[in-house]
Each structure stands twice: as structure tokens, then as C-alpha cells.
Symmetry: C2
Subunit: 339 residues, 2 copies
């Protein structure tokens, strides 16, 4: 069996250099040297054994991207453009850095524990985790992790989040400024301490600023999907008093628009709507969708970088990064002040 050492000796370089070339980390190696090393690797039929390396180092170079499976959400929901784009960011970054990507839905903390330990995962990127037992499990594993869009009430948690409260506030204030006073809030169910609760708090703050009483009957909860959105749109078409809708995901907003249209309710003439995410769906709806912007790909890249920094033992200036949001105005909101 040809080893890394043999290749390094023949090429007259260090083992680390060969390892870097093999794992595609070639930014500090000259193209000529890369070519020479590959020539030797191919001639000698060398293949690194990731599994042997994993056993030796108790570290697989695999980063697990974990989505939480709930009874309502049994799949990985990869078809939501937000998650797809997020994973795209992770895939390109891990690849560039010589790491690997495993995607998995887990139903409970035990499954997460098993997955991570049996594979010696190098790190965990956990999306939408909101249960403390998951977090306890993650901490006990003692490997680098980043929580995405999770609110865990503990200090020094590695987390990439969003200005969720502000996003909810901006979306709602925009509708209020345009003269809307009866505004529906559409989202997945509100879990204490979760993303949705923050957005709801922003919605409530904007209402309060405009002297509008919070009415719980205007909160509509359903899973994030086109079909659930469409059904809600059909239901909302009957509720003439509601003129504004804030939906906490673009895919939900687009579904609501489809349901409204099915019943002949026009956007924005009859009802105005604001989404959340600013993914490509906003440009595909007609009218185009006013929404709250976030950068999903950047979130994936940042998450990967935070894992890599932990793996390298680098100083991490800020464990909790909160990404900014902004309002993107398009065509889906009518100004009721202009008659």
C-alpha cells in the first residue's frame, strides 16, 4: 500500500502539502507543485483512506447538516428555496476547505447523538433547533457546532441568527404606514423562544406603536409549504376586514397569493402582503413580493466558517452572529392613504 509519506518523499514535499493537495486546499501550493504531486499520486495509485484517518483522529472531516424532524415536518424540506440555498453555501464552502457534507433529519436527541458519535462528525450545523434536550445533547458531544435560527437561553452559544424581531417589526410597520390596520400574521406555530415568536413580537411592537390592539384571532399558523399557504389564502379570501398579511416565509406568502387569486381576490388591490426571506420566489410572483431580506447562502458560508474556526482552534471574536434584515419593496403592498 502506498502511503501519504511515500508520495511526500517522492515529491520532496511535506506530508501536509500532499494532504492539502489531495483535499483540494491548494491556495498556498504552486500550480507546478500541485501538478507534480498529482502525477505521482496517479502513477502510484494512491488513495487516502478517510475512514482510517477518521479512526486515527476520531474526526471524520464530515460536517453534519441537521434538520429537525417533527411530526408535522417529516422530511428535510430541502425544496424550500431558503434551505436549498443555505445548503448550497455550505456545500461549496466545505468542499473548498477539504471537508464533506452529510445531510440528515433527526427525530430526537438520541438520533443526533448516535449519528454524531458513530460517524465521528467533525462538526454540526443545526437548523431550527428549539428544544433544550437537543442543545444539551449537542454540548455533551463536545464537537464544534453552530445553531441556525435558534434561540437557546444560555450564554456563549455558537449561533447564527437574524434580526427576527426587527424583521417582524419592519414588515408590519410597512403595512401600517401604508394605512393597513387589520393585519394577519401567518407562520408556523409559535414556539416559546423560537424564531416565530421573535417575529410575532416585532409584529406586536409595530401594532402598539400605531395604537392598534393585538388580536390573537389574526394569527394563522400552518407549516411552511406552498399547499398550506394556498389553503390559508383561500380561507383569508373570505375575511374581507383583513387588508394586510405578513407571512413569515416567502414560500408561504407565494402560496397565500395563489390561494387568494384562486378566489378572485386581487393583490395588492384587495389585500396586501409582505413575505420574509427575499429568495427568488419574490420575483416570480405576480405582483412581485415585498419582503424582508436575508442572505441564505451567506448564512451557510458563515456557518461553515464558524465550524472551521472552532476546528482550527482559532479565536472566535463573536460566538453569536446576528445577521441584519432589511425591507425590500416590490409590488404586493397597496398604499391605502392614496385613494
Amino acid at each position: 500500500m502506498v502511503t501519504l509519506k511515500d508520495i511526500a518523499a517522492e515529491a520532496g514535499v511535506s506530508i501536509t502539502t500532499v494532504s492539502n493537495v489531495v483535499h483540494n486546499r491548494t491556495s498556498r501550493v504552486s500550480p507546478e507543485r500541485v501538478a507534480k504531486i498529482w502525477e505521482i499520486i496517479e502513477r502510484e495509485h494512491y488513495v487516502p483512506s478517510m475512514t482510517a484517518r477518521t479512526l486515527a483522529n476520531a474526526d471524520s472531516s464530515i460536517i453534519g447538516v441537521i434538520t429537525h424532524m417533527t411530526p408535522q415536518n417529516t422530511g428535510s424540506t430541502m425544496s424550500d428555496p431558503f434551505l436549498g440555498t443555505f445548503v448550497e453555501g455550505i456545500e461549496s464552502r466545505t468542499r473548498a476547505e477539504g471537508y464533506y457534507l452529510m445531510i440528515r433529519s433527526v427525530e430526537d436527541a438520541r438520533a443526533l447523538d448516535f449519528l454524531s458519535r458513530s460517524w465521528h462528525l467533525s462538526g454540526l450545523i443545526l437548523t431550527g433547533m428549539f428544544q433544550d434536550d437537543f442543545f444539551t445533547c449537542t454540548q455533551r458531544l463536545g464537537i464544534p457546532y453552530v445553531l441556525i435560527d435558534s434561540y437557546i437561553d444560555q450564554p456563549d452559544v455558537y449561533n447564527i441568527g437574524l434580526e427576527d424581531e426587527k424583521g417582524g417589526y419592519m414588515a408590519t410597520r410597512h403595512l401600517l404606514e401604508k394605512g393597513h390596520r387589520v393585519i394577519a400574521f401567518a407562520s408556523p406555530s409559535v414556539r416559546p423562544g423560537g424564531v416565530v415568536e421573535k417575529r410575532l413580537q416585532g409584529y406586536q411592537r409595530a401594532l402598539a406603536e400605531f395604537g392598534v390592539n393585538y388580536d390573537p384571532s389574526l394569527v394563522f399558523t400552518q407549516e411552511i409549504s406552498v399547499e398550506e399557504g394556498r389553503r390559508l389564502g383561500v380561507a383569508l379570501s373570505e375575511k374581507k376586514h383583513i387588508t394586510g398579511i405578513f407571512a413569515s416565509a416567502d414560500i408561504l406568502a407565494a402560496g397565500i397569493m395563489a390561494g387568494l387569486r384562486e378566489r378572485g381576490v386581487r393583490v395588492p388591490e384587495d389585500k396586501s402582503i409582505v413575505g420574509f426571506d427575499d429568495n427568488y420566489l419574490c420575483q416570480l410572483t405576480n405582483p412581485t413580493l415585498t419582503t424582508i431580506h436575508q442572505d441564505a447562502e451567506q448564512k451557510g458560508i458563515l456557518a461553515t466558517d464558524m465550524i472551521l474556526a472552532q476546528l482550527r482552534g482559532e479565536e472566535i471574536p463573536q460566538r453569536s452572529v446576528i445577521l441584519p434584515v432589511s425591507l425590500v419593496e416590490r409590488e404586493s403592498v397597496r398604499d391605502l392613504n392614496r385613494k
Copy 2:
């Protein structure tokens, strides 16, 4: 170290049964037995080492989902709903069967070879592969594989494809039947033997049936993305003589519609359009999109099943499965025969 054998002995069951429970293959084990085995596993702090198992068996239980990286397409394009839904099907199926999922873009056959051998991948699901050197590499690896939407001119290839020629034919014939005679064909670049070429052949067959000459200047090529589609839509808005458009992906069709709309061109009044895929975007556009239906999730499940059957040495009645397509009529095509 507690081993699988210890757990099996204590539970009074076979090693295979414990292994099945650990890897979530519990359909043939009673719930009481599953609970008992888990109770022992937790008490004894047992964790299976996937890497030790991999080294012992030279088989990792990881199925690689490979997307081919081209200079034009540098990412995993997971944000396309087609690929997202396809991966969702694979993820749920691999999980149910005790396998794991690794997603990777590879730039060339060498990268594929390295990935597969260094990880002892159990199987490969290869999407959109069109180069013979990739296929030669895959065959040389000697592990289960399935090609998705690939046309490789060799016998006995494991392949899950689609009635692509028929899809192109049905879409174009639909436009012709509605009185359209100048019909654009929008798709990624046509590669000899690839999916796009088949759809183009279907387009040409329909034209010939209606006595319309094939005009290569009506073929518009660009990558599959909303932005590229939008740009094409803007360009097509100038071409008044074109009344029909067949786009070989829904995401492209939706982008074209956005571009047309930007320039005040109405669908279907001014131009009609037919997509391909029948994913959720078709219901989100306004008007809704007439398209060619395929089942992306089912494709992912079938691909996984074909890998699993090979792994188990089961008889595979048909190596090449061609999934059917159908036309789904919605609102994006105008009937020019009705004035």
C-alpha cells in the same frame, strides 16, 4: 468497550437484530424488543463505530449524491426545486433504510474517483452526467450506481430517466394545437446525447408533424436559473413574431415570465409558455404555468431503491427505468384558434 455482540447477548437476540435497531430498520422487530434493546444500549453507553465498520467491510453505508460541476454551474444548484425535492426523496429513503447521504459537486472524474474510494461509498447517485469519462470512472469503481437523466450509449446501464423526447414533443404539440407557429425553445446548451437534445428532438418532431420548418435561431440557450430566465424574457419581449415558448425547466419558464412582465408583455395574451418539471413554481406564477409533469421525489426514492437492490444483490428486473411524463394544462397558453 461495549460491542454489538455484548448488547445482543444481553438482549438475547441476534447481532443482526441489534444492528437493525441501531440503524433504524425496525419494521421486522417488535416495539417491545426495540425498546428493550435501546434500554440496554443506553445503559451500556454503546455507540456503533461506522468508521470501524467501514474499514472492516470496505463499505461505509454512505450513498453519494453527485452533481457535476461545470464552469457555468459551479454550485450544487440545490435551490432549484427539482433538485431539492429529488434530494428530499433520497434523504428520507436512505434514512429509513439505515444509510447515510453525502452531497458533493465534483469537477472531474478524478474527483469522483477519489471521493468514492477514500470514503468507501456504498453507492453513487449521479445527476446530469453526460461525459463518458465520468461513466468509465463510475464503472471502474465497481460499486452500485444509478445515473439520473443521463444518456450513456452503452448497454445495461443503471439509469433512471424520463420520457424526455416525448415531453418536448407534448409541450410543443400543445402550443402548435393552440395555433402557435413561431415557437422558441429555451434550455441549457444542447449536449450531444443529453437530456436537452432529447427534448429538442421532441420539439422538432412536433414541428415536423405540423409542417413547420425547424429554425435554429429560435433555440435560446442559457443556464437554468431565475436570473438567466428573466434576462431571456426581456430579450424575447422584443421578438414580436414569437408567440410560443417552450422552456425546459419550470424555474426557467418562471424567470422568462418575470422578464416578459417587466417589459409589459402579457402571458398568455401576447406570448404563451410551457414549462417542464411540474414543481410547485407552476402554481405560484400568475398566470399559473402549463407544464410537463415529472415526479422528482419519486425519482429520488426510486434511485435509492435501485442502489439498495444492488447492495443486497437482488435481481433487478429493469436496469433502465424511464419515468412517464404528462402534460398539465394551466393558464399560460392562449388558444389562437379562438379569436
